[in-house]
Protein backbone atom coordinates (compact mmCIF):
# COMPACT_ATOMS: atom_id res chain seq x y z
CA UNK A 1 0.00 0.00 0.00
CA UNK A 2 2.79 2.39 0.93
CA UNK A 3 4.52 1.57 -2.34
CA UNK A 4 1.41 2.52 -4.27
CA UNK A 5 1.09 5.82 -2.43
CA UNK A 6 4.75 6.69 -2.98
CA UNK A 7 4.51 5.69 -6.62
CA UNK A 8 1.36 7.80 -7.02
CA UNK A 9 3.02 10.83 -5.47
CA UNK A 10 6.04 10.40 -7.73
CA UNK A 11 3.90 9.94 -10.85
CA UNK A 12 1.74 12.96 -10.07
CA UNK A 13 4.83 15.06 -9.29
CA UNK A 14 6.27 14.23 -12.71
CA UNK A 15 2.88 14.88 -14.34
CA UNK A 16 2.57 18.29 -12.66
CA UNK A 17 6.14 19.13 -13.57
CA UNK A 18 5.53 18.35 -17.23
CA UNK A 19 2.09 19.96 -17.46
CA UNK A 20 2.87 22.94 -15.23
CA UNK A 21 6.35 23.80 -16.43
CA UNK A 22 7.46 21.91 -19.56
CA UNK A 23 4.13 22.26 -21.38
CA UNK A 24 3.77 26.04 -20.89
CA UNK A 25 7.45 26.45 -21.66
CA UNK A 26 6.94 24.68 -24.98
CA UNK A 27 3.76 26.65 -25.65
CA UNK A 28 5.59 29.90 -24.96
CA UNK A 29 7.87 29.06 -27.89
CA UNK A 30 4.86 29.33 -30.18
CA UNK A 31 5.76 32.00 -32.63
CA UNK A 32 3.88 35.21 -31.91
CA UNK A 33 2.29 36.18 -35.16
CA UNK A 34 3.15 39.64 -36.31
CA UNK A 35 1.06 40.22 -39.37
CA UNK A 36 0.64 43.37 -41.40
CA UNK A 37 -2.36 44.18 -43.53
CA UNK A 38 -2.22 45.86 -46.91
CA UNK A 39 -4.63 46.99 -49.58
CA UNK A 40 -4.67 48.65 -52.96
CA UNK A 41 -7.62 50.78 -53.97
CA UNK A 42 -8.64 51.62 -57.48
CA UNK A 43 -11.32 53.86 -58.90
CA UNK A 44 -12.78 53.76 -62.42
CA UNK A 45 -12.47 57.52 -62.69
CA UNK A 46 -11.40 60.46 -60.62
CA UNK A 47 -14.49 62.44 -61.58
CA UNK A 48 -18.07 61.67 -62.48
CA UNK A 49 -21.16 63.60 -63.46
CA UNK A 50 -23.97 64.11 -60.99
CA UNK A 51 -26.32 61.13 -60.90
CA UNK A 52 -23.68 58.68 -62.06
CA UNK A 53 -22.12 55.93 -59.98
CA UNK A 54 -18.52 54.87 -59.68
CA UNK A 55 -16.89 51.58 -58.64
CA UNK A 56 -14.23 51.40 -55.96
CA UNK A 57 -12.24 48.17 -55.85
CA UNK A 58 -10.10 47.27 -52.86
CA UNK A 59 -7.60 44.39 -53.08
CA UNK A 60 -6.45 43.43 -49.60
CA UNK A 61 -4.42 40.84 -47.73
CA UNK A 62 -1.89 40.24 -44.98
CA UNK A 63 1.84 39.65 -44.85
CA UNK A 64 3.92 37.94 -42.19
CA UNK A 65 1.69 34.89 -41.64
CA UNK A 66 -1.88 33.80 -41.13
CA UNK A 67 -3.86 36.43 -39.29
CA UNK A 68 -6.69 35.96 -36.79
CA UNK A 69 -8.52 38.79 -38.49
CA UNK A 70 -8.23 41.18 -41.41
CA UNK A 71 -10.55 44.14 -41.23
CA UNK A 72 -11.08 46.97 -43.69
CA UNK A 73 -12.49 50.15 -42.19
CA UNK A 74 -13.94 52.42 -44.83
CA UNK A 75 -15.33 55.84 -43.99
CA UNK A 76 -17.37 58.15 -46.23
CA UNK A 77 -17.15 61.65 -44.68
CA UNK A 78 -19.15 63.27 -47.50
CA UNK A 79 -21.96 60.72 -47.58
CA UNK A 80 -25.19 61.22 -45.66
CA UNK A 81 -26.05 57.54 -45.43
CA UNK A 82 -25.40 54.14 -46.92
CA UNK A 83 -27.99 54.95 -49.59
CA UNK A 84 -24.96 56.32 -51.45
CA UNK A 85 -22.87 53.17 -51.09
CA UNK A 86 -23.59 49.60 -52.14
CA UNK A 87 -21.46 46.47 -51.84
CA UNK A 88 -21.30 45.15 -55.39
CA UNK A 89 -19.21 42.10 -54.57
CA UNK A 90 -17.20 40.90 -51.58
CA UNK A 91 -14.84 38.04 -50.84
CA UNK A 92 -14.97 38.75 -47.12
CA UNK A 93 -16.59 35.95 -45.15
CA UNK A 94 -18.15 37.70 -42.16
CA UNK A 95 -21.23 39.87 -42.41
CA UNK A 96 -20.21 43.52 -42.91
CA UNK A 97 -21.15 46.12 -40.31
CA UNK A 98 -22.68 49.37 -41.44
CA UNK A 99 -22.57 52.28 -39.04
CA UNK A 100 -24.78 55.19 -40.03
CA UNK A 101 -24.24 58.73 -38.70
CA UNK A 102 -24.93 58.74 -34.94
CA UNK A 103 -24.59 54.96 -34.52
CA UNK A 104 -22.48 53.56 -31.72
CA UNK A 105 -19.36 52.10 -33.33
CA UNK A 106 -18.70 48.64 -31.90
CA UNK A 107 -15.26 47.48 -32.92
CA UNK A 108 -13.16 44.35 -32.56
CA UNK A 109 -10.12 46.54 -31.90
CA UNK A 110 -9.21 49.27 -29.41
CA UNK A 111 -10.77 52.44 -30.73
CA UNK A 112 -11.85 55.93 -29.72
CA UNK A 113 -14.37 55.92 -32.52
CA UNK A 114 -17.43 55.76 -30.28
CA UNK A 115 -20.14 57.45 -32.34
CA UNK A 116 -20.03 57.49 -36.14
CA UNK A 117 -19.70 61.03 -37.51
CA UNK A 118 -20.16 59.71 -41.04
CA UNK A 119 -21.13 56.39 -42.64
CA UNK A 120 -18.57 53.79 -41.70
CA UNK A 121 -18.19 50.30 -43.15
CA UNK A 122 -16.38 47.48 -41.32
CA UNK A 123 -15.79 44.41 -43.42
CA UNK A 124 -13.66 41.53 -42.25
CA UNK A 125 -12.34 38.00 -42.46
CA UNK A 126 -11.80 35.88 -39.39
CA UNK A 127 -9.32 34.29 -39.77
CA UNK A 128 -7.46 35.50 -42.82
CA UNK A 129 -4.73 33.11 -44.00
CA UNK A 130 -1.71 34.64 -45.68
CA UNK A 131 -2.74 33.25 -49.07
CA UNK A 132 -6.20 34.78 -48.90
CA UNK A 133 -6.46 38.10 -50.69
CA UNK A 134 -10.07 39.24 -50.43
CA UNK A 135 -11.38 41.78 -52.90
CA UNK A 136 -14.16 44.22 -52.17
CA UNK A 137 -16.04 46.09 -54.84
CA UNK A 138 -18.21 49.04 -53.85
CA UNK A 139 -20.58 51.00 -56.04
CA UNK A 140 -20.81 54.62 -54.96
CA UNK A 141 -23.61 57.03 -55.87
CA UNK A 142 -22.60 60.49 -54.57
CA UNK A 143 -25.63 62.71 -54.00
CA UNK A 144 -23.90 66.10 -53.71
CA UNK A 145 -21.70 67.98 -56.11
CA UNK A 146 -18.08 68.57 -55.22
CA UNK A 147 -15.68 66.32 -53.32
CA UNK A 148 -16.68 62.84 -52.21
CA UNK A 149 -13.95 61.51 -49.92
CA UNK A 150 -13.31 57.87 -49.04
CA UNK A 151 -11.09 56.98 -46.06
CA UNK A 152 -9.73 53.45 -46.01
CA UNK A 153 -7.55 51.70 -43.42
CA UNK A 154 -6.89 48.06 -42.57
CA UNK A 155 -5.98 46.21 -39.41
CA UNK A 156 -4.89 42.66 -38.76
CA UNK A 157 -5.03 40.71 -35.51
CA UNK A 158 -3.38 40.15 -33.10
CA UNK A 159 -2.91 43.92 -32.94
CA UNK A 160 0.62 45.26 -32.86
CA UNK A 161 2.21 48.47 -34.10
CA UNK A 162 2.73 46.73 -37.44
CA UNK A 163 -0.81 45.51 -37.81
CA UNK A 164 -2.23 48.65 -39.35
CA UNK A 165 -2.14 50.05 -42.86
CA UNK A 166 -1.42 52.64 -44.23
CA UNK A 167 1.59 53.96 -42.33
CA UNK A 168 1.13 57.53 -43.43
CA UNK A 169 -1.28 59.92 -45.07
CA UNK A 170 -4.43 61.59 -43.81
CA UNK A 171 -5.67 61.02 -40.27
CA UNK A 172 -9.21 59.95 -39.27
CA UNK A 173 -11.27 60.54 -36.09
CA UNK A 174 -9.49 57.60 -34.49
CA UNK A 175 -6.22 59.54 -34.96
CA UNK A 176 -4.97 56.81 -37.28
CA UNK A 177 -3.64 57.04 -40.80
CA UNK A 178 -6.05 56.40 -43.64
CA UNK A 179 -5.72 56.33 -47.37
CA UNK A 180 -7.79 59.13 -48.83
CA UNK A 181 -9.45 58.81 -52.23
CA UNK A 182 -11.38 61.71 -53.66
CA UNK A 183 -14.06 61.58 -56.32
CA UNK A 184 -15.03 64.87 -57.93
CA UNK A 185 -18.73 65.07 -58.70
CA UNK A 186 -19.41 67.62 -61.41
Amino acid sequence: MNRLIFASIAIMAVYFLIMGIVFPDTMSLTEKKITSPFFVTSLDNQSISSGESIDLIIDSGVTGGDSDMLILIIGFPDAKSFDEIKIKSSQFTQSPKFFEIGDEVKTYYPSDFKIADYPLLHIFNMPNPINKKPILQLEIFPENLGEFRIFTKAKSAPFTVDSIFPKGGSVDEDNEFVEKKVIIVE
Binding site: S28, T30, K32, M126, A157, P158, F159
Partner: protein, 351 residues
Protein backbone atom coordinates in the same frame (compact mmCIF):
# COMPACT_ATOMS: atom_id res chain seq x y z
CA UNK B 1 -39.67 -17.55 -5.97
CA UNK B 2 -36.02 -16.62 -6.52
CA UNK B 3 -35.78 -19.40 -9.09
CA UNK B 4 -38.72 -17.89 -10.91
CA UNK B 5 -37.07 -14.47 -10.92
CA UNK B 6 -33.83 -15.97 -12.20
CA UNK B 7 -35.72 -17.68 -14.98
CA UNK B 8 -37.47 -14.44 -15.90
CA UNK B 9 -34.10 -12.66 -15.96
CA UNK B 10 -32.55 -15.30 -18.19
CA UNK B 11 -35.39 -14.94 -20.66
CA UNK B 12 -35.07 -11.18 -20.95
CA UNK B 13 -32.97 -10.18 -23.97
CA UNK B 14 -30.25 -7.99 -22.37
CA UNK B 15 -29.22 -6.10 -25.48
CA UNK B 16 -32.77 -5.52 -26.64
CA UNK B 17 -33.62 -3.72 -23.44
CA UNK B 18 -30.32 -1.88 -22.96
CA UNK B 19 -29.70 -0.67 -26.53
CA UNK B 20 -32.35 2.12 -26.43
CA UNK B 21 -30.59 3.57 -23.36
CA UNK B 22 -27.23 3.32 -25.14
CA UNK B 23 -28.65 5.07 -28.22
CA UNK B 24 -30.18 7.71 -25.96
CA UNK B 25 -26.77 8.43 -24.43
CA UNK B 26 -24.87 8.22 -27.73
CA UNK B 27 -27.07 10.99 -29.09
CA UNK B 28 -26.00 13.23 -26.22
CA UNK B 29 -22.34 12.39 -26.86
CA UNK B 30 -22.82 13.59 -30.44
CA UNK B 31 -24.65 16.72 -29.29
CA UNK B 32 -22.06 17.63 -26.66
CA UNK B 33 -19.06 16.81 -28.88
CA UNK B 34 -20.56 18.95 -31.64
CA UNK B 35 -21.23 21.68 -29.09
CA UNK B 36 -17.58 21.65 -28.08
CA UNK B 37 -16.55 21.86 -31.76
CA UNK B 38 -19.01 24.72 -32.26
CA UNK B 39 -17.44 26.66 -29.37
CA UNK B 40 -14.03 26.18 -31.03
CA UNK B 41 -15.40 27.47 -34.33
CA UNK B 42 -16.76 30.51 -32.54
CA UNK B 43 -13.36 31.09 -30.95
CA UNK B 44 -11.79 30.83 -34.40
CA UNK B 45 -14.52 33.22 -35.60
CA UNK B 46 -15.38 30.97 -38.48
CA UNK B 47 -18.43 32.16 -40.40
CA UNK B 48 -21.52 30.53 -39.01
CA UNK B 49 -24.47 29.06 -40.84
CA UNK B 50 -27.43 26.92 -39.84
CA UNK B 51 -25.82 24.00 -41.69
CA UNK B 52 -22.27 24.33 -40.33
CA UNK B 53 -20.71 20.87 -39.71
CA UNK B 54 -20.96 21.01 -35.88
CA UNK B 55 -24.61 22.05 -36.18
CA UNK B 56 -25.40 19.09 -38.45
CA UNK B 57 -23.77 16.67 -35.99
CA UNK B 58 -25.69 18.33 -33.17
CA UNK B 59 -29.01 17.93 -34.94
CA UNK B 60 -28.09 14.34 -35.81
CA UNK B 61 -27.36 13.74 -32.12
CA UNK B 62 -30.79 14.98 -31.14
CA UNK B 63 -32.38 12.63 -33.72
CA UNK B 64 -30.31 9.71 -32.39
CA UNK B 65 -31.43 10.47 -28.83
CA UNK B 66 -35.06 10.73 -29.92
CA UNK B 67 -34.83 7.35 -31.63
CA UNK B 68 -33.31 5.90 -28.45
CA UNK B 69 -36.17 7.37 -26.46
CA UNK B 70 -38.73 5.81 -28.81
CA UNK B 71 -36.93 2.49 -28.34
CA UNK B 72 -37.57 2.65 -24.59
CA UNK B 73 -41.20 1.86 -25.31
CA UNK B 74 -40.55 -1.35 -27.25
CA UNK B 75 -42.70 -4.11 -25.76
CA UNK B 76 -40.51 -6.49 -23.75
CA UNK B 77 -41.86 -9.04 -21.33
CA UNK B 78 -41.18 -8.53 -17.60
CA UNK B 79 -39.53 -5.16 -18.22
CA UNK B 80 -41.01 -3.87 -14.97
CA UNK B 81 -38.48 -5.70 -12.80
CA UNK B 82 -35.77 -3.21 -13.73
CA UNK B 83 -37.05 -0.16 -11.84
CA UNK B 84 -36.73 2.03 -14.95
CA UNK B 85 -39.60 4.41 -14.25
CA UNK B 86 -37.32 7.27 -13.21
CA UNK B 87 -34.85 7.07 -16.15
CA UNK B 88 -37.76 6.80 -18.57
CA UNK B 89 -39.48 9.84 -17.10
CA UNK B 90 -36.21 11.79 -16.90
CA UNK B 91 -35.29 10.96 -20.49
CA UNK B 92 -38.77 12.05 -21.60
CA UNK B 93 -38.23 15.40 -19.94
CA UNK B 94 -34.72 15.64 -21.43
CA UNK B 95 -35.93 14.81 -24.94
CA UNK B 96 -38.78 17.31 -24.61
CA UNK B 97 -36.28 20.03 -23.69
CA UNK B 98 -33.93 19.02 -26.53
CA UNK B 99 -36.78 19.23 -29.02
CA UNK B 100 -38.13 22.60 -27.88
CA UNK B 101 -34.60 24.05 -27.60
CA UNK B 102 -34.29 24.04 -31.42
CA UNK B 103 -37.23 26.31 -32.28
CA UNK B 104 -36.64 28.42 -29.16
CA UNK B 105 -33.01 28.99 -30.20
CA UNK B 106 -34.12 29.83 -33.74
CA UNK B 107 -36.57 32.40 -32.34
CA UNK B 108 -33.86 33.85 -30.07
CA UNK B 109 -31.45 34.20 -33.03
CA UNK B 110 -34.20 35.76 -35.11
CA UNK B 111 -35.08 38.27 -32.40
CA UNK B 112 -31.71 39.09 -30.85
CA UNK B 113 -29.19 38.10 -33.53
CA UNK B 114 -26.17 35.98 -32.78
CA UNK B 115 -26.32 34.67 -29.22
CA UNK B 116 -23.53 34.05 -26.75
CA UNK B 117 -22.74 30.86 -24.86
CA UNK B 118 -25.04 31.70 -21.97
CA UNK B 119 -28.57 32.32 -23.15
CA UNK B 120 -31.94 31.07 -21.92
CA UNK B 121 -32.36 28.84 -24.96
CA UNK B 122 -28.88 27.34 -24.60
CA UNK B 123 -29.69 26.58 -20.96
CA UNK B 124 -32.79 24.71 -22.13
CA UNK B 125 -30.61 22.71 -24.57
CA UNK B 126 -27.99 21.95 -21.91
CA UNK B 127 -30.63 20.89 -19.39
CA UNK B 128 -32.09 18.57 -22.02
CA UNK B 129 -28.66 17.09 -22.69
CA UNK B 130 -28.01 16.61 -18.99
CA UNK B 131 -31.34 14.97 -18.21
CA UNK B 132 -31.12 12.68 -21.23
CA UNK B 133 -27.55 11.59 -20.51
CA UNK B 134 -28.24 10.99 -16.81
CA UNK B 135 -31.32 8.93 -17.72
CA UNK B 136 -29.20 6.91 -20.11
CA UNK B 137 -26.58 6.15 -17.44
CA UNK B 138 -29.17 5.20 -14.82
CA UNK B 139 -31.04 2.97 -17.25
CA UNK B 140 -27.91 1.14 -18.39
CA UNK B 141 -26.53 0.61 -14.88
CA UNK B 142 -29.84 -0.65 -13.49
CA UNK B 143 -30.33 -3.10 -16.35
CA UNK B 144 -26.73 -4.31 -16.03
CA UNK B 145 -27.02 -4.84 -12.31
CA UNK B 146 -30.33 -6.62 -12.53
CA UNK B 147 -29.20 -9.02 -15.25
CA UNK B 148 -25.60 -9.29 -13.96
CA UNK B 149 -24.29 -8.48 -17.42
CA UNK B 150 -22.18 -5.62 -18.74
CA UNK B 151 -22.43 -3.39 -21.78
CA UNK B 152 -18.67 -3.00 -21.56
CA UNK B 153 -16.07 -0.41 -20.75
CA UNK B 154 -16.22 1.33 -24.13
CA UNK B 155 -19.96 1.93 -24.26
CA UNK B 156 -20.23 2.95 -20.63
CA UNK B 157 -17.20 5.23 -20.92
CA UNK B 158 -18.80 7.01 -23.87
CA UNK B 159 -22.14 7.43 -22.13
CA UNK B 160 -20.49 8.86 -19.01
CA UNK B 161 -18.59 11.29 -21.24
CA UNK B 162 -21.95 12.61 -22.42
CA UNK B 163 -22.91 13.49 -18.84
CA UNK B 164 -19.46 15.01 -18.29
CA UNK B 165 -19.74 17.29 -21.32
CA UNK B 166 -23.31 18.23 -20.40
CA UNK B 167 -22.24 19.36 -16.93
CA UNK B 168 -19.18 21.05 -18.42
CA UNK B 169 -21.53 23.02 -20.70
CA UNK B 170 -23.17 24.56 -17.62
CA UNK B 171 -19.79 25.22 -16.01
CA UNK B 172 -18.52 26.88 -19.20
CA UNK B 173 -21.63 29.05 -19.40
CA UNK B 174 -20.97 30.59 -15.99
CA UNK B 175 -17.19 30.92 -16.29
CA UNK B 176 -16.30 31.77 -19.90
CA UNK B 177 -16.55 35.32 -21.23
CA UNK B 178 -18.40 34.26 -24.38
CA UNK B 179 -21.83 35.66 -23.63
CA UNK B 180 -21.70 39.33 -24.57
CA UNK B 181 -23.80 40.19 -27.60
CA UNK B 182 -25.21 43.35 -29.14
CA UNK B 183 -28.36 42.95 -27.02
CA UNK B 184 -27.26 41.31 -23.79
CA UNK B 185 -24.17 41.08 -21.66
CA UNK B 186 -24.43 37.74 -19.86
CA UNK B 187 -20.67 37.49 -19.35
CA UNK B 188 -19.85 36.41 -15.80
CA UNK B 189 -17.98 38.86 -13.58
CA UNK B 190 -14.29 37.87 -14.05
CA UNK B 191 -13.44 37.19 -10.39
CA UNK B 192 -16.64 35.21 -9.89
CA UNK B 193 -15.91 33.27 -13.08
CA UNK B 194 -12.38 32.35 -11.96
CA UNK B 195 -13.54 31.25 -8.49
CA UNK B 196 -16.48 29.37 -9.99
CA UNK B 197 -14.22 27.55 -12.46
CA UNK B 198 -11.72 26.67 -9.74
CA UNK B 199 -14.44 25.11 -7.61
CA UNK B 200 -16.85 23.63 -10.14
CA UNK B 201 -14.58 22.03 -12.75
CA UNK B 202 -12.87 19.72 -10.19
CA UNK B 203 -16.28 18.86 -8.70
CA UNK B 204 -17.57 17.88 -12.15
CA UNK B 205 -14.46 15.82 -12.91
CA UNK B 206 -14.48 14.00 -9.58
CA UNK B 207 -18.23 13.43 -9.72
CA UNK B 208 -18.19 11.88 -13.20
CA UNK B 209 -15.02 9.82 -12.89
CA UNK B 210 -15.63 8.51 -9.39
CA UNK B 211 -19.24 7.70 -10.32
CA UNK B 212 -18.10 5.80 -13.40
CA UNK B 213 -15.96 3.66 -11.14
CA UNK B 214 -18.36 3.36 -8.21
CA UNK B 215 -21.20 2.00 -10.31
CA UNK B 216 -18.80 -0.74 -11.43
CA UNK B 217 -17.22 -1.60 -8.07
CA UNK B 218 -13.85 -3.31 -8.19
CA UNK B 219 -13.62 -3.16 -11.97
CA UNK B 220 -10.54 -1.44 -13.31
CA UNK B 221 -10.85 0.47 -16.57
CA UNK B 222 -14.21 2.22 -16.41
CA UNK B 223 -12.79 5.41 -14.92
CA UNK B 224 -9.80 5.44 -17.28
CA UNK B 225 -11.96 4.82 -20.34
CA UNK B 226 -14.36 7.61 -19.44
CA UNK B 227 -11.36 9.92 -19.04
CA UNK B 228 -9.85 8.68 -22.30
CA UNK B 229 -13.05 9.46 -24.21
CA UNK B 230 -13.13 12.94 -22.70
CA UNK B 231 -9.55 13.50 -23.87
CA UNK B 232 -10.33 12.11 -27.33
CA UNK B 233 -13.39 14.32 -27.80
CA UNK B 234 -11.47 17.37 -26.56
CA UNK B 235 -8.64 16.66 -29.00
CA UNK B 236 -11.07 16.25 -31.88
CA UNK B 237 -13.30 19.19 -31.04
CA UNK B 238 -11.09 21.76 -29.29
CA UNK B 239 -7.45 21.18 -30.24
CA UNK B 240 -7.31 19.79 -33.78
CA UNK B 241 -9.56 22.47 -35.34
CA UNK B 242 -7.23 25.23 -34.07
CA UNK B 243 -3.87 24.93 -35.93
CA UNK B 244 -1.88 26.65 -33.17
CA UNK B 245 -2.98 24.02 -30.64
CA UNK B 246 -1.98 20.94 -32.62
CA UNK B 247 1.44 20.93 -30.94
CA UNK B 248 -0.31 20.72 -27.56
CA UNK B 249 -1.87 17.33 -28.33
CA UNK B 250 1.02 15.11 -27.07
CA UNK B 251 0.97 17.02 -23.79
CA UNK B 252 -2.81 16.93 -23.60
CA UNK B 253 -2.69 13.14 -23.90
CA UNK B 254 -0.72 13.08 -20.64
CA UNK B 255 -3.97 13.99 -18.88
CA UNK B 256 -4.71 10.30 -19.07
CA UNK B 257 -2.07 9.75 -16.35
CA UNK B 258 -4.14 11.03 -13.38
CA UNK B 259 -7.20 9.17 -14.68
CA UNK B 260 -5.39 5.82 -14.87
CA UNK B 261 -3.73 6.43 -11.53
CA UNK B 262 -7.06 7.23 -9.88
CA UNK B 263 -8.51 4.09 -11.45
CA UNK B 264 -5.67 1.99 -9.99
CA UNK B 265 -6.05 3.52 -6.54
CA UNK B 266 -9.82 3.14 -6.40
CA UNK B 267 -9.95 -0.39 -7.81
CA UNK B 268 -6.61 -2.08 -7.14
CA UNK B 269 -5.52 -0.70 -3.78
CA UNK B 270 -6.76 -1.68 -0.36
CA UNK B 271 -6.66 1.87 0.94
CA UNK B 272 -9.78 2.74 2.93
CA UNK B 273 -11.89 5.48 1.34
CA UNK B 274 -9.60 5.33 -1.66
CA UNK B 275 -12.22 7.21 -3.70
CA UNK B 276 -11.27 10.44 -1.92
CA UNK B 277 -7.64 10.06 -2.98
CA UNK B 278 -8.74 9.15 -6.51
CA UNK B 279 -11.08 12.16 -6.58
CA UNK B 280 -8.31 14.47 -5.40
CA UNK B 281 -5.99 13.13 -8.11
CA UNK B 282 -8.46 13.80 -10.93
CA UNK B 283 -9.67 17.09 -9.45
CA UNK B 284 -6.14 18.43 -9.11
CA UNK B 285 -5.61 18.01 -12.85
CA UNK B 286 -8.59 20.17 -13.88
CA UNK B 287 -6.45 23.12 -14.94
CA UNK B 288 -4.75 20.92 -17.54
CA UNK B 289 -7.82 18.92 -18.59
CA UNK B 290 -9.84 22.07 -19.27
CA UNK B 291 -7.17 23.57 -21.53
CA UNK B 292 -7.61 25.50 -23.83
CA UNK B 293 -10.90 27.16 -22.82
CA UNK B 294 -9.81 27.81 -19.26
CA UNK B 295 -7.30 30.29 -20.70
CA UNK B 296 -10.16 32.72 -21.32
CA UNK B 297 -11.45 32.50 -17.74
CA UNK B 298 -8.15 33.21 -16.00
CA UNK B 299 -7.06 35.74 -18.63
CA UNK B 300 -10.11 37.85 -17.77
CA UNK B 301 -9.14 38.11 -14.14
CA UNK B 302 -5.34 38.24 -14.54
CA UNK B 303 -4.53 40.08 -17.77
CA UNK B 304 -7.81 41.12 -19.33
CA UNK B 305 -6.28 40.86 -22.80
CA UNK B 306 -8.08 40.24 -26.05
CA UNK B 307 -7.46 36.50 -26.60
CA UNK B 308 -7.09 35.90 -30.31
CA UNK B 309 -7.02 32.17 -31.24
CA UNK B 310 -3.33 32.36 -32.16
CA UNK B 311 -2.55 33.83 -28.73
CA UNK B 312 -4.06 31.02 -26.61
CA UNK B 313 -0.77 29.07 -26.13
CA UNK B 314 1.15 32.21 -25.20
CA UNK B 315 -1.40 33.53 -22.73
CA UNK B 316 -1.90 30.08 -21.17
CA UNK B 317 1.84 29.67 -20.76
CA UNK B 318 2.05 33.06 -19.03
CA UNK B 319 -0.51 32.43 -16.30
CA UNK B 320 -0.19 28.71 -15.76
CA UNK B 321 3.35 28.77 -14.42
CA UNK B 322 2.32 31.36 -11.86
CA UNK B 323 -0.88 29.85 -10.53
CA UNK B 324 -0.77 26.12 -11.21
CA UNK B 325 0.42 25.06 -7.71
CA UNK B 326 -2.45 26.99 -6.14
CA UNK B 327 -4.99 25.62 -8.63
CA UNK B 328 -3.77 22.05 -8.12
CA UNK B 329 -4.40 22.42 -4.37
CA UNK B 330 -7.80 24.08 -4.91
CA UNK B 331 -8.75 21.37 -7.40
CA UNK B 332 -7.85 18.59 -4.97
CA UNK B 333 -9.92 20.20 -2.20
CA UNK B 334 -12.94 21.00 -4.42
CA UNK B 335 -12.95 17.45 -5.73
CA UNK B 336 -14.00 16.24 -2.27
CA UNK B 337 -17.48 17.62 -2.92
CA UNK B 338 -17.63 15.87 -6.28
CA UNK B 339 -16.49 12.61 -4.71
CA UNK B 340 -19.06 12.79 -1.91
CA UNK B 341 -21.84 13.43 -4.45
CA UNK B 342 -20.51 10.61 -6.65
CA UNK B 343 -20.56 8.10 -3.80
CA UNK B 344 -24.11 9.04 -2.80
CA UNK B 345 -25.46 9.17 -6.34
CA UNK B 346 -23.81 5.87 -7.29
CA UNK B 347 -25.52 4.13 -4.35
CA UNK B 348 -28.88 5.48 -5.52
CA UNK B 349 -28.26 4.41 -9.12
CA UNK B 350 -27.32 0.82 -8.37
CA UNK B 351 -30.21 0.32 -5.93
Amino acid sequence: MSDQISEIKENIPFWKIVIPYIVLGMGVVLVTGAGSWDITNHILNKPESFFAEPHIILYAGVIVSISGFVGLFLPIKNKNIFNLKFPKLFSGLGIFLLIIAGPLDFWWHDTYGLDGLLSPTHLVLMTGMLFTSIASVIGIIRIENKLKRKTGIILQGLIFTGVWFSLTGFAHSFSLPFSKTDYFDFNPEPTFAAIFATIVYPIVMAFILISSSKVNPGRFGYLSTTGAFYILIMILSALLPNPVLVDAIPFYLLNLVPFVLADVIINKSKIKKSHYIAGAIVGSSFIFSYFPLITYTYNEVMFHRLVWPSMIPLIYSEFIVVIFPLLIACGAVSSLIGTIIAVKVSRRIIL
